[in-house]
C-alpha cells in the first residue's frame, strides 16, 4: 500500500496522501492487536474439543458407517469417508464442539461399541484442526 503512494504525486495532494498512508498503517496495527488480545481472552470453555474415533480390527466397516449415519445424521458418503479415514489412518475426528457436547457423543459411541475419545482441538498436532468438522 505504501509503495503505490509515492512522493512523485502532485504537490497539492502530497500531505493528504501521507495522512491516508498513516491511517492505513495504524489501522493494520490495531487489527493485529485486537486479534492478539481476543485470543488471550478465550477461556478453556471456548476452545473446541474433538471427538476422535479410533481404528480397531473388530468393528465392521459397515457398522461404523451405519453408526455415523444413524447417530450423527451424516450422509452415507460422508459417513463412508470418515469410516475409511478411521480404517486407513487409524483415527478420525468425526465431530467437534464444546467439551460437554463431545463427551456426550463419546458416551454414545461407547454405547455402540466404537472406541472414541475426546481431545482439545489441535492438541494431537496432526494438523487436522477443524477440517473433520460436524453438523452442529
Amino acid at each position: 500500500m505504501i509503495t503505490t503512494v509515492g512522493p512523485g504525486t502532485a504537490p497539492g495532494t502530497y500531505s493528504a496522501t501521507n495522512t491516508v498512508t498513516d491511517a492505513g498503517l495504524k489501522g493494520e496495527e490495531r487489527t493485529d492487536t485486537s486479534e492478539q488480545s481476543s485470543t488471550d481472552l478465550l477461556s478453556a470453555a471456548d476452545i473446541p474439543w474433538n471427538l476422535v474415533v479410533w481404528n480397531d480390527p473388530v468393528n465392521l466397516m459397515s457398522y461404523v458407517s451405519y453408526v455415523f449415519q444413524s447417530y450423527f445424521g451424516y450422509s452415507e458418503a460422508k459417513s463412508n469417508k470418515l469410516m475409511l479415514e478411521v480404517h486407513k489412518k487409524g483415527r478420525s475426528i468425526v465431530a467437534y464442539g464444546g467439551k460437554e457436547q463431545v463427551e456426550q457423543h463419546a458416551v454414545a459411541m461407547h454405547g455402540y461399541g466404537l472406541w472414541a475419545t475426546v481431545e482439545k482441538a489441535n492438541s494431537s498436532g496432526d494438523g487436522q484442526g477443524r477440517k473433520g468438522g460436524a453438523r452442529g
Binding site: 480390527p57 451405519y66 449415519q69 461407547h110 455402540y112 475419545t117 481431545e119
Partner: protein, 191 residues
C-alpha cells in the same frame, strides 16, 4: 456344529432372520456372558442417592481388557479426567449395554426373527459387544490377527477352545454384517 442360520434381510415384513435352536442357545449363552461381565458389582456401603442419580464414586478403570474395551477411557492421556468422567457416566453406559443385550436375548425365543428398526439397532449393538469380548479372548490386536481368525470357517476343525471361539466369532461377525446390511437397506428405502 454346522450353522444353517439365514442371513438377515430387509423385506416386506421388515428385517427378518432365521436361527436354528442350537444357534439360539449359543447366542443366548454369549449374550448372558457379556451381561454378567457388565452387571455392576453391588457394594454394601454405596450411597443410595448417588446410585439413584447414576453416579458411582467407587468405580475404577476395569482391569479386564475386554471390559475396558466395552467401557473405554474417554481421554487418551488423562487418566484422572477419564476416571472422573467414568464416575459420572459408566453406570448408565453399563445399563444401556445390558438393555441391548437383554433385548437381543429376549428375541431368541423362536427360530424366526422379525425385528423392528429399534430392535434391529439393539441387536446390532449387542452383537458388536459380544464380538468385542470374543476378540479380546482371541487376542485379536490387528488386521493380521483378524485375518487369521477369519480363515477359520470349517466347524470340523474345531478341536480346541481357541478354534471353537474363532468359529463362534466368525459366526457372530457374519450375523452382524448381514444385519447391518439389512438395516442399511431399510434406511435407503425410507422416504
Amino acid at each position: 456344529m454346522a450353522h444353517v442360520a439365514k442371513a438377515f434381510k430387509y423385506g416386506l415384513k421388515g428385517i427378518t432372520g432365521y436361527l436354528e435352536p442350537a444357534e439360539r442357545e449359543l447366542l443366548r449363552g454369549l449374550l448372558d456372558d457379556v451381561i454378567s461381565m457388565l452387571e455392576p458389582q453391588l457394594s454394601s456401603n454405596e450411597d443410595p442417592l448417588t446410585a439413584m442419580i447414576g453416579l458411582d464414586m467407587n468405580v475404577k478403570e476395569p482391569s479386564d481388557r475386554a471390559l475396558l474395551r466395552l467401557l473405554p477411557n474417554v481421554m487418551k492421556s488423562d487418566d484422572a479426567a477419564s476416571l472422573e468422567f467414568r464416575q459420572l457416566t459408566e453406570r448408565s453406559l453399563r445399563e444401556g449395554k445390558i438393555g441391548a443385550l437383554r433385548a437381543a436375548a429376549m428375541g431368541l425365543d423362536r427360530n424366526e426373527l422379525v425385528l423392528t428398526p429399534e430392535e434391529a439397532k439393539l441387536w446390532s449393538m449387542a452383537l458388536n459387544d459380544v464380538r468385542l469380548v470374543l476378540a479380546e479372548r482371541l487376542d485379536i490386536r490387528d488386521e493380521a490377527d483378524a485375518d487369521h481368525v477369519h480363515a477359520m470357517q470349517d466347524w470340523s476343525q474345531a478341536e480346541d477352545v481357541e478354534s471353537y471361539l474363532a468359529l463362534v466369532y466368525n459366526f457372530t461377525t457374519w450375523l452382524q454384517e448381514s444385519l447391518v446390511q439389512a438395516m442399511m437397506a431399510s434406511m435407503d428405502r425410507k422416504p
